[in-house]
């Protein structure tokens, strides 16, 4: 390039600063001595100590992790089946319906998903007596439905990139369809499944709106608990919690990224 595009560099630097400034300020003020979050009064780790003594927050975190783990696992199972059906089975009855139902939750506002799920659970309870009230089960079901769409998109786009000659070769050699899936397809799409599981886990862990609609009195998840604290104003404990989540996410992304990179490199060699 003849002259370096300084305007572009400036705009990019501004963009990245915009992305990371809030995160940095969250982290910095989690180590603040003062309860007034935005006034610096010296370094301290006391809010981390308080965080680990906050029973309500810890309990909510535990519930959220349980819901997210179960929801992500179910969503990966359902999403893999749906992705497989949409990209490998050609034409079948209900294909259009399945394709609409897997992509619609992506564009639908969460308030709508939450409200409609709640109305379903209330109607079902009236008609067949299940689910009995609202709680962890209803949150998990609603999250599975939301996350399945995301996993389907990931699996479907991964399968679309792959050409199916390997699978066809295995079938020509006499492998039965389920054997082809477990021995050929599954290992190839495993990275996509890991990415899908992580995305589903994050979405479930992060969801405030759907959970607020379908939660019961004793199923306060982490976002609901955090939201009720945040509405009352800034609290350094929330900053400490945010810092822990950011560190956790950064570590997981780096490790998974490195593992995927290594497996790809070893596959190439």
């Amino acid at each position: 390039m003849r002259n370096r595009p300084y305007a572009l560099y400036t705009a990019m630097a501004f963009g990245y600063a915009f992305l990371y400034f809030p995160i940095l300020s969250l982290i910095v003020y989690s180590f603040n001595e003062s309860r007034l979050v935005t006034v610096w009064a010296g370094f301290s780790t006391k809010w981390y100590g308080e965080l680990f003594q906050n029973e309500a927050l810890l309990d909510a975190a535990q519930k959220s992790f349980m819901v997210a783990t179960v929801a992500a696992t179910f969503a990966v199972t359902l999403g893999t089946l749906a992705g497989l059906a949409l990209s490998r089975l050609g034409r079948f009855r209900g294909r259009t319906l399945l394709s609409i139902m897997t992509s619609a939750p992506l564009v639908m506002p969460e308030v709508m998903l939450g409200l409609s799920s709640l109305l379903l659970f209330v109607s079902m309870q009236q008609l067949i007596g299940w689910p009995d009230g609202r709680g962890m089960t209803t949150i998990t079901i609603a999250h599975i439905t939301l996350c399945t769409s995301y996993v389907t998109i990931i699996v479907q786009s991964r399968l679309a990139q792959l050409d199916d000659s390997l699978e066809e070769a295995a079938m020509d050699l006499g492998a039965r369809p389920w054997k082809v899936f477990f021995l050929v397809t599954l290992p190839i799409i495993a990275p996509a499944l890991i990415a899908g599981w992580l995305l589903a886990f994050t979405l479930s862990l992060d969801d405030l709106i759907i959970a607020s609609f379908v939660s019961g009195p004793d199923s306060t998840t982490l976002p609901i608990e955090v939201y009720s604290k945040v509405r009352l104003g800034l609290t350094p404990e929330v900053n400490a919690l945010a810092t822990l989540i950011i560190v956790f996410v950064a570590v997981v992304i780096t490790v998974v990224g490195w593992m995927l990179h290594r497996s790809r490199a070893s596959a190439a060699s």
């Binding site: 992305l19 995160i23 308030v111 709508m112 409200l115 409609s116 992060d206 955090v226 939201y227």
Partner: protein, 330 residues
């Protein structure tokens, strides 16, 4: 001439239904694996996604009541053995009546304001996101992935906490005001928190990755030879950008804009935490109608109207996407 007969009609309906079920049964019998792969997600989504939307539509025609659950039944057996079907249009009438009086309207104001807020935020996201995407697309392959990861990484942390971070930055004695005052750029703190500007910032921040990713995917495909040709023909870099790069990247611009606009219309947390009392958005109105006023039928009617608001732009988007991407060959 054949006369119309109800018996014949019912017979026909049942015959077709059984024929359809029978063909399903045969299909399941012949290809059990296929049936499981298709059937399990299909049934799950039909029960937990499609059915709820139908119930939502049904309850939007109900009346609010003080019973548990707080809405009236649509179909009921009267004491005089009369099956009555009651469609209550009052919820939609409320929404329409509200719109005919712009001065005191709540729902209409919220709808228009949602669209306005989402549109302004989308334009701002495009202005912030385009240079990032352009830079990533032009970067060497060694830098491209790390730069892209840095854009996506914040998305993986809690969106609630990322919105919360802006409260600390934007409030009266927040980080931004303290910095600007210390630098002597302003004498009095700027009032940004609890205004529409804070909502725009929050939405742009939350949805920036959705703008950048489609733009990068599009800009990477741009042939640098086109720009060289433009330069050889005497086009200045700026003019080349507006006459070559920007028009060619329109599919990416549209895709990114829709991915920001659509979720932003129904946003709840950002206007609730960062906005003021008049940054009403439809998600907020629905929320308060449901949780504060416990008027489930009216909340459902608002949701149905919101669906209409989302479905139209989505259909346009799908249409544009389908037109721009060539049919995948199999």
């Amino acid at each position: 001439m054949q006369t119309f007969s109800w018996t014949q009609l019912w017979f026909d309906v049942f015959r077709r239904m059984f024929a359809w079920l029978g063909s399903w049964r045969r299909e399941i019998h012949h290809q059990r694996g296929r049936a499981i792969v298709v059937g399990v997600p299909l049934v799950w989504l039909a029960v937990f996604f499609l059915l709820p939307l139908l119930i939502l539509l049904k309850i939007s025609f109900a009346e609010a009541s003080y019973e548990q659950p707080p809405f009236s039944a649509l179909v009921s057996w009267g004491e005089d053995q009369i099956l009555s079907l009651r469609f209550n249009l009052a919820n939609y009438a409320t929404l329409i009546a509200d719109c005919s009086d712009p001065a005191s309207s709540l729902y209409c104001y919220a709808y228009v304001n949602s669209l306005k807020t989402a549109a302004i935020s989308t334009v701002l996201a495009l202005l912030v996101g385009y240079p990032i995407a352009y830079g990533i697309a032009r970067a060497s392959s060694k830098w491209r992935l790390p730069l892209l990861l840095l854009v996506v990484l914040p998305f993986w942390t809690s969106s609630l906490l990322r919105t919360y971070a802006w409260i600390g930055i934007l409030k009266g004695n927040g980080v931004l005001n303290n910095t600007l005052m210390a630098l002597g750029l302003i004498q009095e703190p700027l009032e940004i928190l609890h205004t529409d500007i804070a909502v725009y910032i929050g939405i742009v921040y939350a949805y920036l990755p959705f703008m950048v990713l489609p733009l990068v995917a599009n800009l990477v495909k741009l042939d640098p030879l086109l720009l060289e040709a433009a330069a050889d023909l005497g086009c200045r870099p700026m003019a080349a950008f507006f006459r070559v790069t920007l028009p060619l990247s329109m599919p990416g611009v549209i895709a990114g804009s829709m991915l920001v606009f659509i979720p932003a219309v129904g946003e709840f947390v950002i206007p609730e935490l960062l906005g003021g009392p008049d940054s009403l958005m439809i998600g907020r109105v629905l929320w308060s109608e449901f949780f504060t006023n416990t008027d489930w039928p009216l909340a459902s009617a608002i949701a149905v109207a919101l669906l209409m608001l989302i479905v139209v732009p989505t259909l346009i988007f799908e249409y544009v996407q389908a037109k721009n991407s060539p049919e995948p060959k199999r």
